[in-house]
């Protein structure tokens, strides 16, 4: 479920970037957009890593079942994924909502 949400978010972000590029809003368009692209871009990279980690955890769980090390890996992956989400919880209002 988290994997699907992550992939959906990445697709939405690519569509959003494409729309902005088509409108001529690139990295150095103005100061705000430097921050916008750097913050969302770095977040996206972390998200893609997280999606990979989730996929690895799911594949390992499905193929080999659960053991002590797998549980530790899954807990760590879940914590990493929550961290990525936590960052977005702060970044989203900062870039999209603040007046």
């Amino acid at each position: 479920m988290a994997f699907l949400c992550g992939v959906g978010f990445a697709v939405a972000k690519c569509i959003e970037y494409q729309g902005k590029f088509d409108a001529g809003v690139t990295l150095f368009h103005n100061e705000y957009f430097v921050f916008y692209y750097v913050l969302t871009g770095v977040h996206l990279v972390h998200l893609l890593v997280g999606v990979g980690v989730l996929a690895y955890g799911y594949a390992k769980l499905t193929l080999r079942g659960l053991d002590a090390i797998s549980l530790q890996e899954i807990e760590s992956s879940a914590s990493y994924w929550h961290m990525v989400d936590l960052l977005w919880i702060v970044i989203f209002p900062l870039l999209y909502l603040l007046p």
Binding site: H82, L86, I89, P93, L97
Partner: protein, 90 residues
């Protein structure tokens, strides 16, 4: 019957969604001219949500005191510095 852990996660998730909706509503361009206080409130809400995620989903609530203090300090310092910068720039 919902097990206790499942229902607590659901309650926390609903609170997160509710606060997000409030922030979203406050950002609507149709609202009367927003003040700097609206922005500061939204920043505070963002860090409130971040702390909620840390305590409940990242299990900092069950962590040793030192880690709890580090995470709470991050939330407070982050909130105050972002809100402060926002207020100065407005």
């Amino acid at each position: 019957m919902l097990d206790i852990l499942g229902s607590k996660n659901l309650v926390v998730w609903l609170v997160l969604m509710g606060v997000t909706v409030v922030s979203w509503y406050l950002s609507a361009p149709t609202l009367a001219s927003p003040s700097a206080m609206t922005g500061i409130f939204m920043i505070a809400m963002a860090f409130f949500k971040a702390r909620l995620v840390m305590v409940h989903f990242m299990e900092i609530g069950k962590a040793p005191l030192a880690l709890k203090l580090i995470c709470d300090t991050w939330a407070v310092v982050g909130c105050v510095s972002v809100a402060g910068l926002y207020f100065c720039l407005e």
